[in-house]
């Protein structure tokens, strides 16, 4: 079945120059491995097609049940150069939560998501 990330995690995003960072935090320890497996750097790059013009890097924080993504060349030059409404990438967090991922019915049931 397909499930949207907003049901599995919360997030916060910010900027460093032209790079947006998105921290994705699992709602529970049980959900974290699903994020690690499904929300890969490649999938995030694909998700932000047309928005992220550089590489996507991913870092794991198992201690927080969180993943951190760096989306390079995503903020129209960044900081004061950017013409974007969201020049600081504050809403990249919720944009990531739109992602749909695949999990089996069994897994969904075991995670109380079905």
């Amino acid at each position: 079945m397909k499930i949207q990330l907003v049901k599995l995690a919360h997030a916060r995003s910010g900027d460093k120059g032209d790079t947006a960072n998105v921290g994705l935090i699992a709602f529970s320890d049980e959900i974290y491995p699903v994020l690690v497996r499904e929300v890969t750097a490649a999938r995030v790059k694909e998700h932000f097609k047309g928005i992220c013009k550089g590489d996507v890097e991913r870092f794991e924080l198992p201690n927080l049940g969180a993943l951190n993504f760096l989306l390079h060349h995503s903020l129209g030059g960044g900081g004061t150069l950017s013409l974007m409404t969201d020049a600081q990438g504050k809403t990249f967090s919720t944009a990531l939560l739109r992602m749909m991922i695949d999990i089996s019915e069994e897994e969904a049931q075991s995670l109380d998501l079905a």
């Binding site: 995003s13 960072n21 921290g23 004061t80």
Partner: protein, 455 residues
């Protein structure tokens, strides 16, 4: 040695809730108040202010705030760390000294000032000796913007602030200093942590990171269960309750709104994070993958287990330079066909800009209400949207071209698609762009200076 120190955050940025520091002082016991005023581009704004008025160039709000809270700080032995000095630390300290005297506090406190972060006067000497200060993001050489530089400051760490506190400063005022240093310095001072006790320095740094954005760790901008967050109208700013072993509790005053819960602390931990194993400050390298969190009561999250590594041998430099001009114009289109009309207006506008022969480095069109935040991820907008705001921005090195653009927005009301409003603000303003140039500099080039001023 005290077994517990309470450090309260009073400002998450220059322009944060004006009364937050007052509530931190009056809402319950604290030992320190830390105030972060400097965003990346703040220094260039202050440099501009100082070029017009030699007594300006610091966070002006800091002075009336001190007037309001200094008597309580002296009476209850609360110390203040603030990077309010901007590009005129002495000027800021002088103004605070005057206020303290007016309050009858002569002889009752010392102000510590930290300078040495300003390398603007030394840029040519440094470049001449081969200190390249290449752009950390692009690798570009500083020569390419040399004649447009407006300010250049090193991010100083906790060490000079510790020196000021050790010398008895009640208020420590710095220029460009890291926001994490404002929290770490009191901990080093109070607990006598060694300057190479990397785990403890990393713990104090992460404590600083959690509270440096003010209420953003205590319920503000919190996605987790946001509807359930109590009384954000009276949101409590965060307090670090630190122990000598490096563990600490994030909390807030009783009878305040917001909440301190593990998810709210996690959200702030990942904010503006790069590689979590390498959070580099002038003081140490902190490893966010070692942070452990647990509840210790209502609105109390205990943070422990933090590991760090030795500091690097470079300081980060924040350089600002003039990078051209920009302007943003907006108009609002109403139902029916709001999105189609806004798109048509954008095509008409661009056609006119072309006919005028204006050249821009960038033109960006966004449709607020349809795709301004999530872009293509928002999907195809509904044909039934009640309204859409057309938002067009341009950027150019040529001020006249940007100026000309601003005259093309309001006329669209009488010469473009129907059902349009929202032009009451008049022509958009042309803004000078002051851009940010991050670089590194060997620590050996910098000698921070600490002075104490008796009030």
């Amino acid at each position: 040695m005290k077994q517990q120190i309470r450090i309260a955050a009073g400002q998450g940025f220059w322009g944060d809730l004006p009364d937050a520091p007052v509530h931190q002082v009056e809402g319950g016991p604290i030992d320190y108040l830390m105030l972060d005023y400097l965003a990346e581009v703040t220094m260039s704004i202050m440099q501009k202010q100082r070029s017009r008025d030699p007594s300006a160039g610091y966070a002006k709000d800091f002075v009336p705030l001190m007037k309001q809270i200094l008597p309580a700080c002296v009476e209850r032995d609360i110390r203040v760390t603030a990077n309010a000095g901007g590009v005129n630390v002495e000027g800021c300290a002088t103004a605070v000294k005057e206020v303290a005297r007016e309050l009858g506090l002569s002889g009752k406190l010392k102000i510590g000032i930290v300078t040495g972060d300003d390398i603007m006067p030394r840029l040519d000497e440094l470049l001449g000796r081969g200190v390249a200060m290449r752009n950390m993001d692009t690798g570009a050489a500083l020569d390419t913007v040399r004649d447009r530089i407006q300010s250049a400051n090193v991010y100083l760490g906790a060490a000079p602030m510790v020196e000021a506190l050790n010398a008895g400063a009640r208020i420590v005022i710095t220029g460009r200093a890291t926001d994490t240093g404002l929290t770490l310095a009191p901990l080093i001072h109070e607990f006598g942590w060694a300057i190479d006790d990397w785990n403890k320095l990393a713990a104090g740094t992460i404590a600083g990171h959690i509270i440096e954005c003010g209420a953003q760790c205590s319920g503000g901008n919190c996605q987790y269960e946001w509807r359930s967050i109590p009384n954000l109208a009276a949101v409590g700013f965060p307090i670090v309750e630190a122990s000598p072993d490096g563990s600490f509790v994030i909390t807030k005053h009783e009878r305040t709104g917001g909440w301190v819960i593990i998810p709210s602390v996690k959200e702030q931990l990942v904010y503006e994070m790069g590689d979590p194993r390498d959070y580099i400050t002038p003081d140490c390298v902190a490893d966010f993958t070692t942070v452990q969190l647990e509840y210790e009561g209502r609105d109390r999250v205990r943070v422990f287990g933090i590991k760090g590594r030795p500091a690097t041998d470079t300081f980060k430099v924040s350089i600002s330079y003039s990078a051209g001009y920009k302007a943003v114009g907006t108009l609002v289109y109403s139902w029916p066909d709001a999105y189609d009309k806004a798109q048509a207006a954008d095509r008409i506008l661009r056609g006119r800009l072309d006919r005028l022969g204006l050249k821009f480095e960038e033109i960006l069109t966004e449709f607020v209400g349809a795709n301004a935040t999530h872009g293509p991820l928002a999907g195809k907008p509904s044909t039934d949207l009640p309204e859409v705001q057309l938002r067009v921005g341009v950027r150019s090195q040529n001020r006249a071209d940007v100026e000309r653009f601003t005259k093309e927005i309001a006329p669209l009301v009488l010469t473009g698609p129907p059902g349009v409003t929202g032009f009451a603000g008049g022509r958009p303003k042309v803004e000078e762009i002051v851009a940010y140039w991050p670089a590194l500099l060997p620590k050996t080039e910098i000698q921070p200076k600490v002075e104490l001023i008796e009030v």
